[in-house]
Symmetry: none
Subunit: 206 residues, 4 copies
Amino acid sequence: MSPKLVDKTEKINEIATAALYLFAKKGYAATSVEQIAEAAGIGKGTVYEYFPSKEEIFVHAINDWIMDLINRMLEKTRDIENPVERLKAFIEMVKDVLNVEEPDPKKLFADIDQQTFMQGGAFYKRRHIIKDMRATFCDLVVDILLDGVSKKVFKPEIARDVSKIAINLLAYLDGICMHYLIMEEYQEFEDQIDFHVKGFVDYILV
Amino acid sequence: MSPKLVDKTEKINEIATAALYLFAKKGYAATSVEQIAEAAGIGKGTVYEYFPSKEEIFVHAINDWIMDLINRMLEKTRDIENPVERLKAFIEMVKDVLNVEEPDPKKLFADIDQQTFMQGGAFYKRRHIIKDMRATFCDLVVDILLDGVSKKVFKPEIARDVSKIAINLLAYLDGICMHYLIMEEYQEFEDQIDFHVKGFVDYILV
Amino acid sequence: MSPKLVDKTEKINEIATAALYLFAKKGYAATSVEQIAEAAGIGKGTVYEYFPSKEEIFVHAINDWIMDLINRMLEKTRDIENPVERLKAFIEMVKDVLNVEEPDPKKLFADIDQQTFMQGGAFYKRRHIIKDMRATFCDLVVDILLDGVSKKVFKPEIARDVSKIAINLLAYLDGICMHYLIMEEYQEFEDQIDFHVKGFVDYILV
Amino acid sequence: MSPKLVDKTEKINEIATAALYLFAKKGYAATSVEQIAEAAGIGKGTVYEYFPSKEEIFVHAINDWIMDLINRMLEKTRDIENPVERLKAFIEMVKDVLNVEEPDPKKLFADIDQQTFMQGGAFYKRRHIIKDMRATFCDLVVDILLDGVSKKVFKPEIARDVSKIAINLLAYLDGICMHYLIMEEYQEFEDQIDFHVKGFVDYILV
DNA sequence: TATGAATGAGCTTTCATTCAT
DNA sequence: GATGAATGAAAGCTCATTCAT
């Protein structure tokens, strides 16, 4: 915990942040280490003082980004008493994430998937990071649902399958976001989600 | 006059097929034209007699693959009279597609997304191919649902929102497949889908 | 002199003519054998039945073109009685050659120079073709001048240096054409030449 | 902060010089970037740290060479008082330029013409460089002639057509050099030029 | 520690030429 | 004789990484 270490951590984050914006703008492959260095305001060689490889920059930057996403999710939903409102707030957040312009999340997700599936990809041997993220989101939804059950707002019988229900909800959100990103029919997107969520809430309400 | 006439279309398909397996194994970017040529059992230069660029090989190979997927989907579901059975057959097919080992669909989808989102990607200016595929799947589900309504098996009121319902179902399937591909918990996958589908069918049955 | 040989010669000329237009349009390097074959209406492989290499096509085509140039020059100037008119007709011809649009002579000349000077170039070991062309032009001018002397139209003393005078006139014409091709000031070109020729004729007239 | 600072300009010139010798030896097209790198004693990739493309190397090298030619011309003729001597010094310089062995100017000029005339050539959209060079030479000759007129050494009436006269002289020199380069009759070259220049000087002297 | 100069493996693409039919 | 399918050498260029300073 010497001051040097603090500096080092800070520098690492600076580089990772600069890199994230570039990755989200141009994609992982199309972003060169030189560009990252330039964006971070340091020399190309200096990048390698803080990261052993471009791949590590990606992993670090994505990890930070995911952590930040999760924290914001938790914060926004933590203090809402009404379970229905809390659930809706969560879904709003999901929608918001996709509407961020910079850094563009769809390119990041495309790169993450790529790097997760391809042998030798940056996340190929670290899919636990991606899995953990999904698990955390799942836990959050489970928490909201069980809270609703305990407050007698949601049907008690959903408690038994709460995990499955949470995963299915998240899967739906994932899929519909993908659909929207590809189809580019922004205007219908909200309607589409609202339609599903309405059915979902009806289904779980007592 | 014409001494050595090769079936161009066949050769194109041979190369595209060889390429598809490599793309699905190592990813588009990591597959070199030389490797494609080798896999197709021809020289590097010969590839360029049939395709103007690596990008076109990708587009062609993916397009063929998608067309094949769609055709198989349509075939398998076309002749089933019972709407519920037909819907379930469709979902079975979706599950099956993901369980193909070679060419690995998850990697192909990751590459497709990548090449669709990234500026200058192979599908960046051809997303209509991807959109058309999704639209075709949507039409199929809509068809199944309306068929069910007309046969008085499904609730008449779903007709009004049939398009939304179809998209939401497909989005869910998309999302849950992605979830399964990332989480690698194959054993729970079937249960998970069945759970959702059971709820879905209950919801639409008269 | 069998009919087959005649056919062969004809075919060779067809290919060479097609090639010449392409060389003059796109340059030697940028013209592929495939394009030549296509322009000649034959298959790529057939070209090699008539020429051993692309280089030989170039040499043959250029040689034909030069021969044609020379013949046209001789024809146009042969029957003019008045030496001054004959000289002017020759110079008119030179001007005309450069104004041909297709095949563009400046590109051909640039390619010829290139292939003459560069070691291993198509004309590197055949500069005699180029030299002969220049010698023929020189002979023509010498002939015109001596004819003028014998007709007492031109000063008798130019006979002694007639060869030098001819070469210098041709060199000037060469140079001014080059100048015009590079500077692209077409309108001044005629004036420029006329100015020089007027001085030249004044100088050699009795 | 800046540990290894190389004089970029110097390195650029080193590469350009190495390239110029190769271009003059083998021609632009036949010279590969790898060969340039080797000749400059650096790696292939390093070349691209200093030049964005092979084309730019050519343009830079040729431009430097031309500038150097012009400067030497100006220097050699600047301080000569006697207009006739000055004119002769200029012509001597022209002769000398062609007698340089390395880098061989005839090959460079052949490449320049090539790259100027061919669409997409390195000088195709930069012919102003070539035009400027010719204009500068023209200005120099004009300057010599007008200086001679003002010193009452040359006829006053040449002042009116001084530009035409200069261009014609340069055109002749251009053409005769070309002739000599192609015909390779070095021994007659000097005589030939002297013969023309003698006539020229007689014509412009008072 | 910070740097940017240097690098070369590796990429996609071109095309003159060969040759089986 | 005519063909076009096949080829691979060679090109220009990119960029993650190394390393001397």
